[in-house]
Each structure stands twice: as C-alpha cells, then as structure tokens.
Subunit: 461 residues, 2 copies
C-alpha cells in the first residue's frame, strides 16, 4: 500500500506552523542529562514529549521510571498481521559549554535561512520530532498506520544510557517487535543521505602501575629501582606496532572479515582524504596496513590511549622517580568482537609483559557491543527505497567509527535487527556550539519516515 | 703546624653558651629561599651571618647583590705563602610543609638530648656555624689561621642556585684560590664519617609530542591517525632497555670507568640492601646489569622519566585521541659526561626514532656537571686525616647519586678542586619535617675543620 502523498502533503502544509512551534518548544527545554541540576528539565522534556505523542494519537503513553531520567513509551498496535517496529530516539541533550562560542543562546532556537539552530536541533530532538510528526500525519490522513509502532525515547543517551538496558530487560515481554529503527545518525559528506550499517563497539580499561611507595629522589634512587612511567611506556608500546596493528594476542580473532562487495561499496563512498587529513590537523594519516582510511575507521578495530598521567607535570624540573603512573585505553570493536573477551585478552597480555619490578593492575571501565546490519537485509533495502523516493538520491551505506550502544542493546537484549536511519547533515555540530538542523531535511525526513512505514509494512514477516 | 688543642678546647669550652645561642638565633630566621614572601628573611639571615663573620674576625665582609638572594662574602688572607681555600655553605633553607608532621615549630629550635631540632639545623646553617666557629676559635687562640680563607655563603641553594654562577663568574678574579671546601653533605649510614668524592650531574629535557590539531573523537578517527600518547610511549620505551641500560647512542661514551680499587671501596661500604629496598617501597631492586646497587646509584649515569601527561585524566572514560602528550626526563650524569652533550645525543636519537605521523620537539630544561675528586688527591687525604684525628674513625668515601651543582660551579667556573666534607648524620631529615643536627657532630666538626686548615696548610702548593 503506497502513501497517500496528496493527503499527506495537504496535512503537513496546514500544520506547518504548529509543527515548527512544537519543535521550538521542545528545544527550549534544557534537558542536559549529564548535569544533575538539569534533572527537572529532563523530566519536563519527557512529560512534554509524552503529551505530544498522546496528541498525535499514540496509545499507552507513559513516562516510565528507570532509576535515572525517565523513558517515554507510547504505541499504536492496530495493524494486525503487520510487522511491529520499535522507534528509538533520545530527548536528552549534550551540555552547551563553551557557551561563548554560541552565536545565539543554545536553548533559544532561531531560524537562519534553512537552518534551525539550538542545542538538540539535530541530536536528537529534531529526529524525534520527525517520527512524531510522520506518525501524526499518517494517522490523521489515513486513520491508521500500515504497521505497529512502539516509541521508546530515552533521556540518558548523552550520559551513557546508564539505565536503558535495565528498563529494556525489565520490559522485554511488553516490547515484542520485529525490528528497531534508530534515528540518531546522520548523512554522509554534506547532505548526502546515508544508512548506517555498522557501528563500532567499545572496550575500555585503565592501567595502573605502582613502583616505589612514594615519589623517590632521582638522585638518591635513580638507576636502582624501576620507574613506573617507563614501565607503563614499555607496556603501551607493546600493545600496538608502529604500523598501528594491535599486538594483543587474539585481538583480531573474532573480527568478521570485510567482503569484497563491502570493500567495493566503501571504496565508492565520496571521501576526500586530503580534507579528512586537514580536519584532523595531524601531519599524516596512519593506520593498519592493508586497509583504506575508511575501512580503518569503520570496519577495523583499534586500540587508543585516551589519557596518561604520572609524576610531575609543572614548569621546570622535579627530579623524582614517581610512585605511580596511569593510562586509560579504549578499544573500538567491530562485529563479532565482544567487549569482555577483548578486555580479558588485553589484561592477560599486559599481565604477561609487565615487568616484575612494578605492580600493574588492569581494570575494565566498561564497554559496548559492535553492530553490523547487512546491506541486503530486507529492512535495510526498505529504508533505502524510502530514502530514494523522498530525498531523490540513493543512500550511501556507512560503517560508523563511533558507537551507539543502544543499537547493541536492541540486538542483544531484544534480539532485534536494527536499522540506523537518520536525517541530520554531516556537519550539524552535534556536541558542539551552534548545533543546527537543516529544515529541508526535517521536512523531507517526515515524508521519508511515512514512506518507510509503508515499505516495511509490505515486507514478508 | 699542629692545632694547639688545649687552647682550642679551652676557648670552645668558655664560649659554648654563646655558640649555642648564636646557632639558635640563626635557625630562628625563616630564610626559605623558594617562597617569595620570605625574601626579607633571607636578607635578614645574610645580614646576621655577615655580622657573625665580622665578629669572628673575618675581613672584607659584605652582603653582595646577585639579582636574587644575596651572597655573604668574607675573607682572611694573612697566611702568606699558604694555600687559599674557599669555604662554601648556604644560609637558605627548604620550605617546612607538611607543617603538621613537625613535633615542634620548625623555626623554634629545641634541644632533645644530643639533638638540636629545627629547619636548617643540618642543611646547611649548622655546617656554616661549624666553619664560622672553627675560624673564630683558631683566630682567637692563635692570633692567626694557618692558611687563607674566603667564605662564600649563598642564599639560593634550595632554589637551584639561580644567581650563584653569575656572581662567581663576575667575581672570578677576586676569588683566587687553590681549593674549595663545601660543607653541604653528610655522613654515611648512621653516624659514620664520610667524604663525598663523587656527585652526579644532571641533564633535563622535555619531550612534547603533537598529533591532531585538537582532541579527536576516537570513534570518528581512531585507527586513522597516530595517537600522540602512543608515539610518546614508543619513544620512551626506546630510550632504555628493560634491563635499565640506556639505549641513547653515545650515552655512555664519556663515562669514566670505575677502577677496581674504587669498586672494592664501594663494596666495602656498610650497605643494607634489604633495608634500602624496603625504604623504596618498590617490589624489587632493578638496574643496569653488571653493577651493584651502590655503583648504579653513584657511579653510573641513568635516565628517568619524572613526569608524563596527555589527554584525559578524570574518572571513567573519555573516548579521545588527544592532541598532544608530554614527558619530562632527567639524566643523572657521572664524570666525565657533559650535560649539553648528553642532551644533544638524547635529542638526536629521539628525533631519529620519532614517527613521522606526529610532531616531536625536545627541549633542554638545563643541567649541571658531575664531579669526581680522586680519593688519593692530597686535599682528600688531608680531609681524611682531619676526620680521623677528631672523629676517631677513618672516613668512608662515597659517590652521591644526587647533584650539588655548586661543586661543578667551583670546578667549572673557578677551576678549583673541590672537597666535599660535611658533618650531618645520614638520617638528619633534611628537606623533611623534624630536621635535626647531632650536637656531638657539631662540636667535633668544629675541631675537624680547625684540624683540616692545619692539614691543608702543610700541603705543597
């Protein structure tokens, strides 16, 4: 069954002012999940969003307690025999500092040409609004939706989704579905539509090296005891080769190899390596031999040192052998690596190579599963058709280097395939000052989602 | 000419109260050179000391401007044909924190049995007092001194002797001498007299590694650019072997080998390796193969990382590739290494091994020359005889792991051999709370110095 495009356009045309007013109202709520002072704002945003869902026609709408900021749930389940889709988004936003770099107050949305500028305009309030408006318009114009929808909007994505997994697990039975659609990603390279098929996972660790009982005078003791910073440097240097290949035994064992077809698809992505290099500010690109930059970023795991400290950091010189030294490490993982297994291999290797002249401890700082959705999965194909029909361009298929742990949550906890389809421009300043949404994407996104529901409804179950 | 011991003892006996009162007055002046608020106290200590020298019979006494805390100069030059000796000490002291660990206020000296406790009691006001009192007593009892003396007491030893070299260089002609005697060292292992024959020098450097133009998201960029912390770790790990031997080419080229005689002397030093290990708090001792712990500490150069920092140091995880990473390094040097040459070799090696994917800069943070005085030098032999005659024990000959830059200054700028003879117990808490001087050492030290002038006076010039 195709979308009744004329009726949809007529409805959307008539409701434009109300749609933009609601979008701006949503953006005015400073729902910064990472700052405790903003907890009431997060709850206010949740209540506001629940009201919007009810007004749009969703049922069983509730603001659900999680132990942290609430989850907003709502559904529409009257398409008997059709698939059920969970729609995920998050109503919380990033902090706004540095405030002085904002051209306008972050929670006072302003329109500049085709841009709506405010914290959350893209990430992720704008994408939630696209879904709510598409749902409302379809229901208002057809009296029904072609499939069953469950909205799950969380309030802690920007602070590690601490309570989401618990809530999903506790509500597993109630959340029966066939697919999850996550709209928290964006376009590729400017405004070219994209479907994200891969996300990297994460395994984080801290290494603590202790030597002397306290800082020692390097004159009185230098040369007679191991230096913890040197021991740590030796350990870190052994984790990767100078070519960037990780040397932890077994690190690559569970990596699903890139198919030739996918390597071809990655090679066809519009990618300006010189511009990418310039954006990094590094003197040169660098990485695992045998892979292109985009493959290294999206399809290969990596190990990074995120921070290191120990001893004296001030001006001048302090002639000590420090008592301890520390480093933070994160491994980005790809399918089918598992965070716990990678951490255990890392720990075992470090313990094996650590010199006996210091004490070394390696502890996990958590992690998240990688995810990978085949390009030829029927749901991916449906999303591609919906995008092409509305944006007028075939989507690109990208493997993101970053992680959206919630994707792994829906797969791991609920056993659902996940389609990552989002509508923000690639330079939307998410997490940065002057975040913006392209209002043309916003409008076309509503049409794309309405089309997606029809495309997914016609899939064989 | 021997000391007139009877006259000396009679004088010292009669002047004991005055001697102790003056010592305590000196200690009451909080001349902490490292704290700007105490600059007036440093000047007050200098003036007080100048008055003491005048009262004792020194001539040409003056408080000399240096650009920092003043130098106190005084001389007695009436021993025609006899050698001229420069006596060095410092009237400034270390800060006193942590104050709550002091059993009594640091600038209110108290006597506990044979101990005088106060900041500076040993380091170095006590040793200055030994010299001033020996001078005064010899002059009062003999009407003359058997050699020529120049007193040079500085006020910045505890804050890197910033202005001393400039003052020495500017006054080179005026400071003509044959020998310098520095009393800023102590005994070995309890209260066993010692002469320090070796001091390590220093060459300090900072390594700055820059990669990306700013911190990069490790998801979006991990695997495609070099991580500055990893590059720094690789560089540091290449500087030393796991056995502690420095791998910088040419590092050991200028090291004067230990003679068998000196190795035997070091092996005979009373040294409790288990107690030393326990004092470090490290799990094991460690160092360059082929050398004992005492040889590693005093007779071999070493390279230490004193501090390292870069990226995220907070709680939890921050998934970044940091823009830069930094480390501070000090090499302890032994004769005949030179700080500038060692720094240049270090810099050249680091530049050679630095990966081209980051920018690496290595800059000098200064240094100081090592010094080594032969055990069989006539001045060392004279000091040994003076100690044996007064303390009743043959001195040990030690190579200190630390550095007293002023030793190198007298050798380098004035061309003088340097004898390091001091009288503080080995556990005197210099630089720590509850610093103390053994008053028996103080008294015997006065006799030892008086004897030393006679021993040195009889040496052939």
């Amino acid at each position: 069954m195709p979308v009744d495009r004329a009726a949809l356009e007529s409805y959307l045309d008539a409701s434009r002012t109300r749609r933009m007013d609601a979008y701006r109202d949503f953006l005015r709520i400073p729902s910064i999940s990472g700052l405790p002072d903003h907890a009431p704002d997060c709850r206010r945003a949740a209540e506001w969003l629940a009201d919007e869902l009810r007004r749009g026609g969703a049922e069983h709408v509730s603001v659900e307690e999680t132990g942290g900021h609430p989850v907003v749930y709502g559904d529409w389940l009257h398409a008997a025999g059709a698939p059920t889709v969970i729609v995920y988004g998050h109503y919380d936003v990033q902090p706004v500092d540095p405030l002085d770099l904002w051209e306008s107050p972050p929670f006072e949305p302003i329109v500049k040409g085709d841009r709506l500028q405010a914290r959350g305009a893209s990430d992720d309030k704008g994408q939630i609004m696209i879904h709510v408006r598409a749902f409302e318009a379809l229901l208002a114009t057809s009296g029904r939706i072609p499939l069953n929808l469950r909205f799950v909007f969380e309030g802690e994505e920007e602070s590690s989704s601490v309570h989401l997994d618990g809530w999903l697990a506790a509500n597993r039975d109630r959340l029966a579905a066939d697919l999850a659609v996550i709209s928290d990603t964006g376009f590729f390279d400017g405004n070219r539509p994209a479907i994200t098929v891969g996300l990297r996972g994460l395994s984080a660790a801290q290494i603590d090296v202790t030597g002397p009982g306290g800082d020692l005078h390097s004159g009185g003791y230098g040369g007679t005891v191991e230096n913890p910073i040197f021991a740590l440097a030796t350990i870190l240097a052994a984790l990767k080769g100078p070519d960037g290949r990780v040397r932890v035994p077994g690190f690559y064992d569970d990596v699903r190899p890139l198919s030739e077809a996918e390597r071809d698809a990655i090679a066809r992505l519009p990618f300006d390596e010189a511009a990418y290099l310039e954006a990094t500010g590094s003197p040169a690109l660098h990485g695992e031999p045998g892979y292109t930059t985009l493959e290294r970023r999206g399809a290969r795991p990596t190990l990074e040192v995120n921070g290191i400290w120990g001893g004296f950091e001030g001006e001048g010189t302090k002639t000590i052998i420090p008592a301890h030294a520390h480093a933070k490490i994160t491994c980005r993982l790809v399918a089918d690596q598992r965070p716990e297994a990678i951490f255990e291999r890392l720990r075992a290797y470090i313990e094996e190579i650590a010199p006996p002249t210091v004490r070394v401890s390696v502890r996990s700082l958590g992690g998240g599963m990688p995810s990978l959705m085949p390009i030829d999965h029927p749901a991916t194909r449906a999303a591609a058709r919906a995008i092409e029909a509305t944006f007028g361009a075939e989507p690109l298929y990208i493997r993101e280097g970053g992680s959206i742990p919630v994707g792994a949550s829906f797969t791991g906890l609920l056993g659902l395939p996940v389609v990552l389809v989002g509508f923000t421009p690639s330079d939307e300043h998410a997490h940065a000052p002057n975040e913006w949404m392209d209002l043309r994407n916003f409008e076309t996104g509503i049409r794309a989602v309405a089309t997606l529901w029809h495309e997914l409804a016609s899939l064989p179950r």
